[in-house]
Symmetry: D3
Subunit: 132 residues, 6 copies
C-alpha cells in the first residue's frame, strides 16, 4: 500500500458545549496543521499515488473555506462541537466529495482511502480515516 | 476510524543485557516522548473520541510513576530489558487497565484500541498497538 | 552566554484591524507555541540558568491567564491588534515583572535578558527579546 | 503489534516525465528523510523488534548507494519516474531483500512487515508498506 | 528587538567543486527549508514587524526563481559552490534588494536586519544575517 | 555573519544535587539532541563556514565520549551537576579545544564563535555560546 500526504494549515475561532471541555467552553481558537493522506494499492503510469498539485490545490480550497472564521457562526456546524476529530472528518469527507466529482483527476478514482490528521498543538492531534 | 493522541515525556536511566545492545549495555538513560493514541469507530455525543483532559491526566500519572527513576531498580522490570518497544507496551497496557477501571469515563469503554509510540531520539522510535 | 528555554502553548480567538491583515480581520484564532528563553552570563551554584520548575510554573500561569479566551474582549488589549509579535512582548514583559517581583527566585535577578518566541503555525513565528 | 523505526536521509538529483509534474520536469533535487519501520507481532528474547544497530547499518547502506547521485543516470531507474512514493518502495524492497538474506539477523525473519516513509519537505511525504 | 519569520522551501540540483565536499562533488540535490526572519526595533502602527503577506509573497518569488532547477546551469552562480550558507546569503541579499525597492511596503524600510536560515536535512542547517 | 549547524544526539544517566531539582535528584537519564553551531564573518574559498564533514566527525567523537554512560561516575564531573546548560558548555569547550588544535582544518581558525544547544525534551532546551 502506498500513501502520499500534503500539509496545510487552518486558523479558526470556536467554542464547545459540554462540561467535558472545561475552559474550552469559552470562545477561543486554534491553528490546525492539516495532513491529508491519500492511499492507493498500486502507483499509476506516472508512478504517483495522486496528482499532488491537484491534491494540494483541492486541500487548500477546502481549508480556505474554513479559515479565518468563527466556526460557531458557520451554518454547517450549528449546534455542533467542532472538535479536532470532528473537523478531521469534515475535511476528509469534503476531499472525498471532490475526488468523487473528479477534481483530483481520473486516476484519483482508484484511491483506496484517505486520512486526515489535525494537529491542534505540539502535544495533541486527532485523525479520521475512511475508504473511498 | 477516529483517533486522538496526547503527548507526554519521560526521563529515565537503565541498562540492557545482551550483546545486541553494544554500548547501551552500560548504565545510560533516555528522554522518551510518549504519544498515546486512542482509537474509536464513532465519536460520542460530545463529538470526541475520549475525554482528552482525563486521558492526559491518566497518561501523566502513568508516566510520572516511571519518571526520574533508574528502571534497573524497578521490581516490575527485574531481569527485563526495558527497551523502547517494551516500554511502549508497558504504558499501553497500563492505560488499558485504567480504561477498563473506568478512569477515562464511561465513554472510553467504547474505545476500539490504543497505540503508544515512544521516541527515544530524533532518529529512532518504537510503538505498540493493541485492542481494548 | 547561557540560555534555558521552556515551551508552553496557548489557544485564543481574536481579530485584527487594518487592511494589511486581509482575511485575518475576521474573528479567527490561533494555537501559539510559546518558547520562553532565559539568558544569563554565568551559571549559579547549582549549575543552572534559572530554577526551571519555577520558570515553567510562572510561564504556565501567564499563559493560562490568556488561554481559551477571545482577546478582543480582554480590557488589557482594547483597540490593540494582538499580533504574534505583540503577544510575544506581552508574555516577555509579564515574565520580566514576575522576575522583578522575585517569583523565579533570588538567582533569577541575575538573568541578563529574556526572549519569547511564538509559533503561530509550522510556517510562521515571531519573537521579542529584552534586557532585564 | 510492535514497530521500531530508524531515520536516515538522502540527497539526490532527478527529473520527471509527464505534464502532471509541472516545473518538476526540469532537473532538480531533493533531500529525503527516510523513516524505515519494522513490524513484528511479538518481541524477541532480548525484548526487541529487530537488532536496531543492524537495521540502521543496512538502511544506511541502502541509502548510501542512492545518495549524492543523479537518479536519471542510474540504470536501475532508466525511463522511470523516481517519485517519492516510488523511492519509498525501492528502499522497502531492498530492505526486504536484505532481511531475506539474513543481514538483519535470524530474528528479523519473524518480522511481519516493513514500511518506508520519505519526507520530501515539511509539507509533503509518501510511504510504502509491505509484508515480509 | 522584534522578529517575524516565514518559511518556504526550495528543491534544486547542484554539484560542488573541491575535495572538502567528498561525494557531494557529484551532481545531487537538496530540499531546503527556507526561514526568512525580519528584525525591527519597534512595531509599526498595526503592531507588526512587516506586512507578513507581502513578505511571504516576496520570499515565494525569490524561492520560485531558484526552484526546480540545476543551479550548476544558473549563470548567476557560474564557477560558484552553491553551498547552503552561500544560498542563505543569496536569498537574504535578494530580499534586502526587494525591501530597498519598496516591495515590502514603506514600513519595511525601518527593518533593522534580516536573517535567512536554510535547513538541508534534519541534521544540518546554515544561516546568514545582515543589516539593512 | 554566517553559521552552520550539525546535529547529533547523546543518551546518558545522571542525578542532580540540590532541592531545586525536585525528582531529578534521583538517578534518571536523558536523550540530548546536540546542535553545534559554527559562526564566521566571511565564507572561505570553498564557500563554506567550516569543513562540515570534519565538524560532524569531531562533534561525533566528543558526543561518543559522553554517550551511554552514567555521568555521575565520570571523574571530569565529580561533585558537579551535569545540567543541560552545563553540558552545552562542556561540549562547546571541547569543540573549541579541537578547533584550536587544528582538528577542523586551518580554515576553522577563522571561526568567530561556536554555540551548542542541547534539547532535553520537546519542551525544554538550553544553550551556551562562546567566542573562539
Amino acid at each position: 500500500m502506498f500513501t502520499v500526504t500534503v500539509r496545510e494549515h487552518l486558523m479558526i475561532a470556536h467554542s464547545f458545549h459540554g462540561e467535558v471541555f472545561g475552559p474550552a467552553q469559552r470562545l477561543h481558537g486554534a491553528t490546525y496543521l492539516v495532513d491529508a493522506t491519500f492511499q492507493r494499492a498500486e502507483l499509476d503510469a506516472d508512478n504517483v499515488v495522486v496528482d499532488m498539485a491537484l491534491a494540494a490545490t483541492e486541500l487548500r480550497g477546502i481549508v480556505a473555506a474554513l479559515s479565518y472564521r468563527n466556526l460557531d457562526e458557520d451554518p454547517d456546524f450549528a449546534g455542533t462541537n467542532t472538535t479536532t476529530e470532528f473537523l478531521a472528518k469534515v475535511i476528509a469527507d469534503r476531499l472525498a466529495d471532490r475526488i468523487h466529482e473528479g477534481a483530483l483527476g481520473e486516476g484519483a478514482r482508484e484511491l483506496a482511502g484517505i486520512a486526515v490528521k489535525l494537529h491542534e498543538s505540539h502535544i495533541a492531534w486527532a485523525s479520521y480515516r475512511r475508504a473511498l
